[in-house]
């Protein structure tokens, strides 16, 4: 019965297509096994991300292995980024060929990656919660809906365009008017003296953190907004009936209700900030080999270093520079994956909905 129904439907759907016997036979075969066709093609497709991930990781590990053998554990702690003399006689360490004088340490890159991302999250999280609160509790629908959509769209602005704005507009403006103001007025006490000293030229740690913060706000804010809207009205009304103010309802009812969802979204935003490349390459100042002495200083991150150094690494005939970049990439991958897995665990534990976090769908 069902097969007949299916046949009739498909034939009308095929309509004017010229049907040779062969095509008809294949069509009939496919239709009679439709469930199997779906099942096998869907399963093979679902294997592709796993296969791709395995491929990417094995290429990375294989490529990084010589660098791991030479650079050793000090790769994580050393600050030098010295490709050595690519024109000198090749030397060998632990059986791995590399240019004489080459010495690599990823500490400034790792530190830069973590610093910029943490600044981004510290800025983005409160702003996102405030935005979500304003959108769900304070503003009427006719204005909060388009504004909410605008916040979502912000997530889709290409990072190179955000970087363009950061380097041409935001950075110079902050360096001329804002940073000197902060640097000159912050008291010279521990922790806060990190905000003192030379304020640079608009490219550096704080500018990178701010730009990254702007990029991850939409991810955290739109998720938080969706979460706030999922909080049932009853507990909130209960809080109001007890005489709580809006702030207290948010503090004691709404935010605790969706706390782990917010944490999940935040960690996801953190993951995006860790891996962001081109915007940071544009606004970080791109200086290798040192950790910024204060919050305004130039620096770089793992991702930005890979993009700006891969080309010249290819001139190292021993392949050691390229291998070292693979090692740096591996470290970045491990950090990002760890952060993302943590986010998924938190999100999955709390939200029964399997909507993609950070995306409205």
């Amino acid at each position: 019965m069902s097969v007949v129904g299916g046949d009739a439907e498909s034939i009308t759907a095929l309509g004017p297509i010229r049907r040779t016997t062969l095509v008809r036979r294949i069509g009939a075969l496919l239709r009679s096994n439709e469930e199997h066709v779906w099942r096998y093609s869907a399963r093979s497709a679902a294997i592709i991300p796993l296969a791709g991930l395995a491929f990417v990781l094995s290429v990375l590990v294989l490529k990084a292995w010589p660098a791991v053998k030479v650079n050793g554990f000090s790769f994580l702690t050393s600050s030098a980024w010295q490709p050595g003399s690519t024109y000198g006689a090749v030397v060998h360490t632990n059986g791995v060929a590399h240019p004489p004088g080459s010495s690599y340490g990823a500490w400034p890159l790792i530190a830069g990656t973590l610093q910029t991302s943490i600044i981004a999250v510290l800025i983005a999280l409160p702003i996102s919660i405030g935005t979500a609160f304003a959108l769900t509790e304070r503003l009427p629908g006719w204005i909060s809906k388009p504004l909410g959509f605008f916040v979502e769209i912000l997530a889709g602005i290409p990072s190179v365009v955000v970087g363009l704005w950061g380097v041409l507009t935001l950075g110079p403006l902050l360096a001329q008017h804002v940073y000197p103001l902060i640097a000159n007025h912050v008291p010279n006490v521990p922790v806060l003296n990190y905000f003192r000293g030379p304020t640079g030229y608009g490219e550096g740690l704080l500018t990178s953190g701010l730009v990254l913060g702007l990029m991850i706000v939409p991810i955290i804010a739109s998720t938080t907004r969706d979460l706030f809207m999922q909080v049932p009205p009853l507990p909130k009304e209960g809080g109001e009936a007890l005489g709580l103010t809006d702030a207290e309802v948010a503090r004691w009812v709404t935010i605790p209700w969706v706390r782990s969802g917010i944490i999940g979204a935040t960690v996801l935003g953190l993951g995006r900030a860790l891996g962001e490349t081109i915007a940071v390459a544009m606004v970080s100042g791109s200086v290798l080999g040192h950790v910024s002495p204060n919050i305004y200083g130039t620096m770089t991150t793992v991702a930005a270093t890979i993009v700006s150094q891969l080309d010249s690494a290819a001139t190292d005939g021993t392949g050691f520079a390229v291998a070292t970049l693979a090692e740096a990439g591996l470290i970045l991958a491990v950090i990002s994956v760890a952060v993302n897995v943590a986010a998924r665990i938190i999100v999955n534990r709390t939200s029964r909905l399997s909507a993609p976090v950070g995306r409205d769908s």
Binding site: A42, G275, T277, R359
Partner: protein, 296 residues
């Protein structure tokens, strides 16, 4: 008196705190929307006064000229990602939503595949680009070309499409299936005619967002697609291909005004493309929501 005064003070403190909280919430909204508007306006202000429509019809000269090659290249890349990642992502989403049946021990099968997909969605794109360059461009001798770029971008966005497809299918009301089953439909036929059809808007939205991500990427393309000022060729390998983000990234800090205009024009075209995709996806969502509400 002595009893009332602390509570009055507390009330005043609470009122102040409440006002501060509301002000902070509105201020954060301003801090999000303000820079975003500023950014968009900045791109428009920098690009529009010097805009010439022949940007779309002449090829680039690097630091001057048009962007025809880049616009077409970006469209070709998006089309390729649509074909590759669209197919894989939708099928994978179907697998996660429909076919990964619970095992006898109660655990859903496909946990490994699902975890792999989620891990991939948070993978740094530059690392994917690095692997694309090393393994595909150099290792397989493909050179800077379209195919490695498509494979790497597809790997990047497949998780988005799979996730969107999965949740779109999950949101198909159970009574649709029950109805179809009651009519005696074969499972495969039901999947195609009932489930996928109802989930289609959600899937299309996911695909459009994925395309906007792919079209706006820079870092992984620099080392897989390469760059050329020529128009896209029919060749999948051995021929580099131009794309918009490259010109934004390269020309903004060239010392001539002509080069700056190329960069701003590319940024404007990118913004328009991404906005069109996102607004389209939004309209689809709004329409289906209205539809669903109407049916309720």
């Amino acid at each position: 008196m002595s009893i009332i005064s602390p509570s009055v003070q507390r009330t005043r403190a609470r009122r102040i705190r409440e006002t501060l909280f509301r002000a902070a919430a509105m201020a954060s909204l301003v801090f999000v929307v303000g820079p975003a508007l500023w950014l968009v306006i900045e791109v428009i202000v920098r690009a529009v006064p010097h805009w010439h429509w022949n940007v779309l019809t002449t090829v680039s000269q690097g630091t001057s000229g048009g962007l025809e090659n880049a616009v077409l290249g970006t469209l070709v890349i998006m089309l390729g990602v649509l074909i590759i990642a669209g197919t894989i992502g939708i099928l994978a989403g179907i697998h996660f939503a429909e076919l990964a049946r619970p095992r006898k021990n109660g655990k859903a099968s496909g946990a490994v595949l699902r975890t792999a997909t989620e891990v991939l969605s948070g993978f740094p794109s530059i690392v994917l680009g690095y692997v694309g360059y090393i393994a595909l461009c150099v290792g397989l001798h493909w050179g800077f070309s379209l195919l490695p770029a498509l494979l790497i971008l597809s790997l990047m966005v497949v998780p988005y499409i799979a996730k969107a497809t999965e949740s779109a299918i999950r949101q198909v009301p159970t009574n649709y299936r029950e109805g179809a089953e009651a009519l005696g439909m074969a499972p495969g036929y039901m999947l195609r005619r009932i489930v996928l059809k109802s989930a289609l808007p959600g899937i299309v939205t996911g695909v459009l967002i994925a395309l906007s991500i792919a079209g706006g990427e820079t870092a992984p393309l620099l080392y897989t697609a390469g760059i050329t000022n020529n128009l896209p060729s029919a060749s999948l390998i051995h021929q580099p291909i131009g794309y918009l983000t490259y010109y934004v990234w390269t020309d903004y800090n060239q010392p001539t005004n002509e080069a700056h205009y190329v960069s701003y024009d590319a940024a404007l075209i990118l913004l328009v493309m991404v906005l069109v995709l996102l607004v389209t996806s939004r309209i689809i969502v709004a329409r289906t929501q209205r539809h669903a509400e109407g049916n309720r």
